[in-house]
Amino acid sequence: MVRAGHLKKYLQVAEISLTNRVVYLADHFASSIFLLLILFIFSQLWRTVLGAGGTLAGLDSTGMLWYMVFTEVIVISTPAYHRLVSDEVKSGDIAYKLNRPYSYTLYYLAAHCGEFAIRFVTNLAIGAVFAYLTMGPLQVAWAQLGWVIISFSLAMVLTFLMNFSLALLAFWFEDNRPFFWIQSKLVFIFGGMFVPVEAYPAGLRIVSYLLPMRYGVSAPARLMVDFDYAFLWQVLLGQFIWATILSLITAAMFQKGVRRVHVNGG
């Protein structure tokens, strides 16, 4: 567990990670072209499919585009620290980090959160301006925004735990990239990247309710565009349960994995 006094150093790690990203802000804006491209295509698609008055999973064309802004922004704002962790485990460099005065897992969680925050804000700014100009404003439930931010924060932790636990598989597997590949496909489908999972046929919808991807991507996005208290409690419960399960899995994997690290002096 983290003592309150130790929290400061992890906040500093998050701040460093965030500042590093701010330095390359111009580069970051330039790389958002793909986000604009995909939003442009879907703005035309939803206008054609739903027109005026049509809805899909309870959202009209404006709601669908704003939903996509949030799912895309969550996914493209997720930093790729898992690659670094995989490399450190494979190369054995992790041994140099284990004897430092911080928790390896919490260090990367803090770095993940810092970078995610700045990427999320910049990507959202770009996506929101585009959605506003093409489809109109989003009806934000300002009074309930605090709940939505809590849900987004839990989603950020969930995506970290999913990626970090897969990265730790490098202790046992020479090449863990296929696991990430499979996970990205699961996020695409069960995370409801393009359409809310509520639009899926019953069987797939139930599967998506049981998996963590929905709570990391689709659910917070949906909460933002169509706030509802009953849905909020359902989402927060799912996020809390999955954060607990994944934390336990990650801790167990890390404990078992580091025992496999051999350090040779010389």
Binding site: A30, I33, F34, L37, I38, I41, Q44, L45, T48, V49, L56, P178, W181, K185, F188, I189, F194, V195, A199, Y200, P201
Partner: protein
């Protein structure tokens, strides 16, 4: 003229064969890349499957049309990546002085750069394209031949567009990022039905970003065959190939060789 065409075709096929043998050297990796790419493309169709479970048609496009669109677009992409894989990194080759190697050899420089690389994973796109295509038509030799011709045409449009985009590096220095974004835009637009786009966007998609000639027109040819469509496609393919060739060789005059010492192996 005919002898030259024969020589060029032989040259391309020789490289194709060498690249294929090289990929097959690691058979397990080759097969897994194909399977992964195949599954990846299936996932892309998932969205349309969900959407068409809610609607009947999208401005005249059915799920079957979407499947054909994916078959043609992924087949065209496979042609580009398997036969002309060098088009993906042309701007890096230009900016890093990598053309020196090709300039010293007695083969057409552009063609040589293009065929010198091949991506094994693109075989997955080809298998996917073929499988989806066969699901949407009543299979026959004629249909198979039409599919091959249409993906070759689409592949040439994609490759030529990539050559034009990457050739900007002759003028702007390191233009890899811009070129990648332009080629990515072409591929992305090729995977969405033209029925969803406004008239202005469609105009752009038949001119500046020619996704219309990569997948929309070929799908229309399969759907309602007509010689004017075929003629239009053939005319555009020939035109864009010549324009790409012209721009590349125009830029080549501005090329400054590098002093980077690298090892190259050519067949």
């Amino acid at each position: 003229m005919l002898t030259e065409a024969k020589r060029v075709t032989k040259f391309v096929l020789q490289y194709f064969s060498a690249n294929l043998q090289s990929a097959m050297e690691y058979r397990g990796a080759f097969l897994s890349q194909i399977i992964f790419m195949f599954v990846n493309n299936i996932m892309l169709l998932f969205f349309w499957w969900v959407l068409f479970s809610k609607i009947e048609s999208l401005n005249g496009w059915s799920f079957q049309h979407i499947m054909r669109l994916y078959a043609i677009a992924s087949g065209a992409y496979a042609v580009k990546a398997i036969l002309f894989g060098g088009s993906f990194s042309l701007s890096s080759t230009i900016a890093e002085g990598g053309l020196d190697f090709y300039l010293a050899l007695p083969k057409p420089v552009l063609l040589h750069v293009l065929v010198s690389r091949s991506f094994a994973s693109a075989w997955g796109d080809l298998v996917f394209g073929l499988a989806i295509f066969l699901l949407t038509v009543s299979p026959s030799i004629g249909m198979l031949l039409a599919f091959v011709i249409l993906i070759l045409a689409g592949g040439l449009v994609m490759t030529s567009f990539a050559v034009i985009a990457h050739s900007l590096s002759f003028w702007v220095g390191y233009g890899a990022r811009l070129a990648d974004e332009l080629t990515e835009a072409l591929l992305t637009f090729s995977l969405y039905p033209e029925g969803i786009f406004s008239a202005v966007t469609r105009w752009v998609l038949y001119t500046l970003i020619p996704a219309g000639f990569v997948s929309y027109l070929p799908v229309r040819i399969m759907d309602e065959f007509s010689w004017p469509y075929v003629g239009l496609l053939g005319f555009f393919v020939l035109g864009i190939v010549l324009v790409a060739r012209f721009i590349f060789y125009r830029g080549l005059k501005r090329y400054e060789s590098g002093n980077l010492v690298v090892t190259n192996a050519a067949g």
